[in-house]
């Protein structure tokens, strides 16, 4: 039987305890994510959104409650749960190509065609022999995405992947990520603090609030096909999310003519 919900979270609670203070990073989270969907998780700092993603990814495995990915309990990281960090995290001493090769499973280590395929997907075929220091921030992050995808994950988890990039590079990478999602049909979850990014990318936008980290609301967004950043559907969806964070009077006027 195919699992319809690739991620199922029930009563997830995570407490950070440094011996003196107890911080309830996540409290009684329940969330279901459909296979093939694109979900954004948004919230201010300290709302536990990254912690939740790290738990789904198996990087952080001390929690109470139930977290299932692809029907089985998460106990460790694995290649089927691709993870893209905020920093590109390329090994500085390996070339772009070797960075991807490093991440591959043993039986794929010599598969140059696979490496080429994914570098092509992110538009960096000409840079396979470059060192990370020779790449711009945006290019390095693209390599990180290619590295995750080359491992054929069932689900791609992105932890504020574009947070450190300039506005224009960011928009370009969002477009590319959306195209990759449509082409590869991989479930994607992105954690972000950027409302526009959350609304533009996610079919579902999970809004979280801090202290303790809770899910406040889940929005379904429909921006039409193709998605437009400039259309009224986008403005409406964005306004809904804004209202979650700010009082009505603080929302600046938006024009969409």
């Amino acid at each position: 039987m195919a699992v319809e919900n690739i991620v199922e979270i029930k009563h997830l609670t995570k407490v950070f305890n440094d011996g003196k203070n107890e911080v309830r990073a996540l409290e009684d989270i329940g969330l279901e994510i459909k296979e093939g969907s694109f979900t954004s998780i948004i919230g201010g700092s300290g709302c536990g959104k990254s912690t939740m993603l790290r738990i789904i990814g198996g990087i952080d495995i001390e929690y109470t409650g139930e977290v299932l990915v692809n029907g089985s309990k998460v106990t460790a990281p694995s290649r089927e749960k691709g993870f893209v960090f905020q920093d590109h995290r390329l090994l500085p001493w390996l070339t772009v190509k070797e960075n991807i090769r490093f991440s591959l499973p043993k039986e794929q280590k010599k598969n140059d065609a696979l490496i080429k395929e994914y570098l092509e997907l992110v538009g960096l075929s000409d840079f396979e022999n470059s060192l990370p220091k020779q790449l711009s921030g945006g290019m390095a992050q693209r390599v990180a995405i290619a590295r995750a995808l080359a491992n054929k994950p069932k689900i791609l988890l992105l932890d504020e992947p574009f947070g450190a990039l300039d506005a224009i590079t960011k928009v370009n990478l969002q477009e590319e990520l959306l195209k990759i999602w449509q082409k590869e049909k991989i479930t994607m979850i992105i954690v972000t603090h950027d409302i526009d990014e959350a609304v533009y990318l996610g079919e579902n936008v999970v809004v979280m609030t801090p202290r303790p980290g809770r899910i406040k609301q889940i929005y379904k967004t429909d921006l039409g096909t193709p998605r437009l950043r400039t259309g009224s559907l986008f403005a409406k969806a964005r306004e809904d999310i804004y209202k979650e964070f700010f009082k009505e009077a603080e929302i600046p006027f938006t024009y969409n003519i």
Partner: protein, 254 residues
């Protein structure tokens, strides 16, 4: 940090100006008749001695002996330091097991080992190799451990995400990650090895640059002493230059 200077004519003039000034002062003292041959040689005498030593082969023999001792002792130290350094870094229990003895041995200078080395190995080459080993092993060891310790934890997290086996983790993260620090350790280690060989040869030897120093002193020949010192300085610099170049070649990513 300073901007790298452009290496124009002025740069090279400035670079050689101080040694030149010293030579001029030296020469003018000689011409004023202030130098006594048994305490300070004239430049001419030093030059003559250098030519004499070069011609009769003593220059080459003495340097050759010292350099080959340094290479042997250092190579032994390098291998030992890398193995123990990696074991200490990878296995916390091994670290605990060896920590106290390493902490106590570390502050003992190589010169302090000379008496024991002579008692154990005599005054032959073995005792010198041992002293050099002692001098070189700690800098390489300490920098290896430090290099592994300072590797960014985020790379280990990355390795977990991609289920990287331990052997590959060592090859692709731990060794390259620690390499810049190891290279620093190697430079310090070779420097120490060179200092150690001179010290060891001064105390008991019949060849080598250190022997030139002690022999020159007993003959009251400051020209031989100074020639020996210059050889130590010049070859020390050459070795360091080679290692700096090697570091540049090996570590391309910084």
């Amino acid at each position: 940090m300073n901007k790298p200077q452009k290496k124009d004519v002025f740069y090279w003039f400035l670079y050689f100006a101080l040694p030149l000034i010293i030579l001029i002062i030296w020469e003018s003292f000689d011409r004023a008749g202030k130098l006594k041959p048994y305490t300070m040689p004239s430049l001419e005498k030093l030059f003559d001695t250098t030519v004499e030593y070069a011609k009769n082969g003593q220059l080459l023999t003495n340097i050759g002996v010292s350099v080959s001792l340094v290479l042997e002792g250092f190579f032994l130290a390098l291998v030992t330091a890398l193995i123990i350094g990696m074991l200490v870094s990878l296995f916390p229990k091994f670290d605990t097991f060896t920590d106290l003895i390493i902490q106590i041995l570390k502050p003992i200078p190589p010169i302090a080992w000379i008496p024991l080395a002579i008692l154990w190995f005599g005054i032959g080459q073995e005792s010198k190799i041992f002293i050099i080993f002692i001098g070189a092993v700690f800098p390489v060891f300490l920098n290896t451990v430090d290099g592994v310790k300072t590797i960014d934890k985020k790379y280990f997290e990355l390795a977990k995400v991609y289920e990287i086996p331990k052997s590959e983790l060592i090859k692709n993260i731990i060794i390259p990650g620690a390499l810049p620090s190891i290279m620093t350790g190697i430079r310090l280690g070779v420097g120490n090895a060179w200092v150690s060989v001179v010290a060891a040869e001064m105390i008991g030897a019949t060849k080598g640059v250190g022997y030139m120093l002690s022999n020159g002193r007993s003959l009251s020949r400051p020209d031989i002493v100074i020639l020996g010192m210059l050889l130590v300085g010049v070859f020390g610099k050459i070795m360091d230059d080679i290692l700096r170049l090697l570091r540049k070649k090996v570590i391309t990513w910084l």
